[in-house]
């Protein structure tokens, strides 16, 4: 009888161990499943973000030609070299096309900034008031960026509609070939 009782206790003990092992195994399986699901969800989110990125890149791809054109235009607005010859030629053409006489152009000392170099210059023109307005409008349109810093208009002759215009302006170049 005593042997039988011991046998029973052993059986109960073994069953308990088996139960604990089973619970541990199930818990482990559940945990690894949860981790795998979390990994899958993170990957899914990552994929959707990459998809959005691709969509925006595809948009950029479609705009590439326009962007390149704008970059080329901006390279004219602020060239890589001073190109004073082109600037003077452009000023002369603009002045002549608006019946203004470009009397004088003089450059001041260039000032280096972080990303660009400032080219201050002064010009003197003679002509009529309305032509000056058209000239300034034309100057604003480019192709080169010109910042007008000051204008001084004086009458040349009280009886004639002729004026003398002194403009202090500034243009720029990037200096990073």
């Amino acid at each position: 009888m005593k042997k039988k009782g011991q046998k029973n206790y052993l059986s109960i003990f073994l069953v308990m161990i088996a139960g604990v092992l089973m619970l541990f195994f199930i818990h482990h399986q559940l945990m690894s499943l949860t981790e795998a699901r979390q990994e899958a969800a993170a990957l899914g989110e990552n994929l959707s973000q990459t998809n959005v990125q691709i969509q925006s890149l595809v948009k950029l791809q479609n705009q590439a030609v326009d962007m390149q054109e704008q970059i080329d235009k901006l390279a004219q607005v602020m060239p890589e070299e001073p190109l004073e010859d082109l600037l003077i030629g452009d000023l002369q053409i603009k002045a002549s096309s608006h019946d203004l006489q470009l009397v004088q152009v003089s450059f001041d000392q260039y000032a280096s900034q972080k990303d660009y170099v400032e080219m201050p210059f002064n010009m003197t023109l003679e002509g009529q008031y309305l032509d000056l307005i058209y000239f300034l409008k034309d100057l604003q349109r480019g192709p080169r960026a010109v910042q007008v810093r000051g204008i001084n208009i004086t009458k040349v002759d009280p009886d004639l509609p002729l004026i003398k215009i002194a403009i202090s302006a500034c243009t720029f170049y990037t200096n990073n070939k």
């Binding site: 069953v15 089973m22 195994f25 199930i26 399986q29 559940l30 690894s32 499943l33 795998a36 699901r37 899958a40 990957l43 899914g44 990552n46 994929l47 990459t50 998809n51 990125q53 691709i54 890149l57 595809v58 950029l60 791809q61 590439a64 962007m67 390149q68 704008q70 970059i71 235009k73 901006l74 390279a75 607005v77 602020m78 900034q113 990303d115 660009y116 400032e118 008031y129 309305l130 307005i133 300034l136 409008k137 604003q140 349109r141 480019g142 192709p143 080169r144 960026a145 010109v146 910042q147 007008v148 810093r149 000051g150 204008i151 001084n152 208009i153 004086t154 009458k155 720029f172 990037t174």
Partner: protein, 238 residues
């Protein structure tokens, strides 16, 4: 009547009962074991499925990353464009719309005002000139008030403009007029210009030339930058 009599000895009866009990426990254990096996297999299958999904997603991710690498030059192009654009904007800053200002002055110049000198200068500390204690000046300012009403409209407009805009340059206008009324009216007109703020009459003086009496004047104003105005750099880059 069915009468069943068990003649087995009590030990054997006990053994039989014990065996039945053991069989029941064994059955229960078997059921629990089967349930455990089912649960374990189910979990394993689910895990395998999720792992297969992960492998698929990783494959997709690799493909998408390749696509991103192919399209990367376009992002670089945009970055370059923004860099160049910002450099031009930074260099140009904001400049006054001189053509509009000159156009306005030319268009709305009264017939009894003649301008002789117009000059502008970009500077940060302009437009802070104090009114001089000048008898003639007070007279003209009184006339301005009389023309515009008790609380001059142009003063209110100028004040509201000053609140909205940032002064960053100065304009000086010199010329002559028929009389002080003409100058006062001209001041009122100038106050309507969005490009000008803090308009101050510096001086007026009566002069005589070839028997005609006229009034010379000097007006100073600050250049104002309208909020919606584009910089010259933007205009040139358009």
């Amino acid at each position: 009547m069915d009468i069943r009599i068990n003649l087995l000895p009590p030990e054997i009866k006990y053994q039989l009962e014990q065996r039945k009990k053991q069989q029941k426990i064994m059955m229960l254990a078997a059921v629990i074991f089967v349930l455990f096996i089912c649960l374990a297999v189910g979990l394993q299958i689910a895990k395998e499925k999720v792992n297969r999904d992960i492998a698929k997603l990783q494959q997709q991710k690799m493909l998408l990353e390749q696509q991103v690498a192919t399209l990367k030059p376009y992002a670089e192009l945009q970055a370059k464009k923004e860099q160049v654009d910002n450099r031009v904007k930074k260099a140009m800053g904001t400049s006054p719309d001189y053509p509009s200002l000159l156009e306005g002055i030319g268009l709305y110049l009264p017939p009894n005002i003649w301008l002789e000198d117009f000059s502008t200068n970009l500077s940060k500390n302009s437009g802070k000139n104090e009114t001089k204690d000048n008898e003639m000046l007070n007279k003209v300012n009184q006339v301005t008030e009389a023309v515009a009403g008790k609380v001059p409209e142009n003063v209110n407009q100028a004040a509201s403009k000053e609140k909205q805009v940032v002064s960053y340059g100065e304009v000086m206008l010199r010329g002559y007029a028929l009389n002080n009324f003409a100058v006062a009216n001209w001041l009122k007109e100038l106050a309507k210009f969005p490009q000008l703020t803090d308009i101050r009459l510096q001086s007026t003086a009566e002069r005589e030339n070839a028997g005609d009496i006229f009034t010379t004047f000097e007006i100073r104003a600050s250049l104002a930058e309208p909020k919606d105005k584009k910089s010259a750099g933007q205009r040139a880059g358009e």
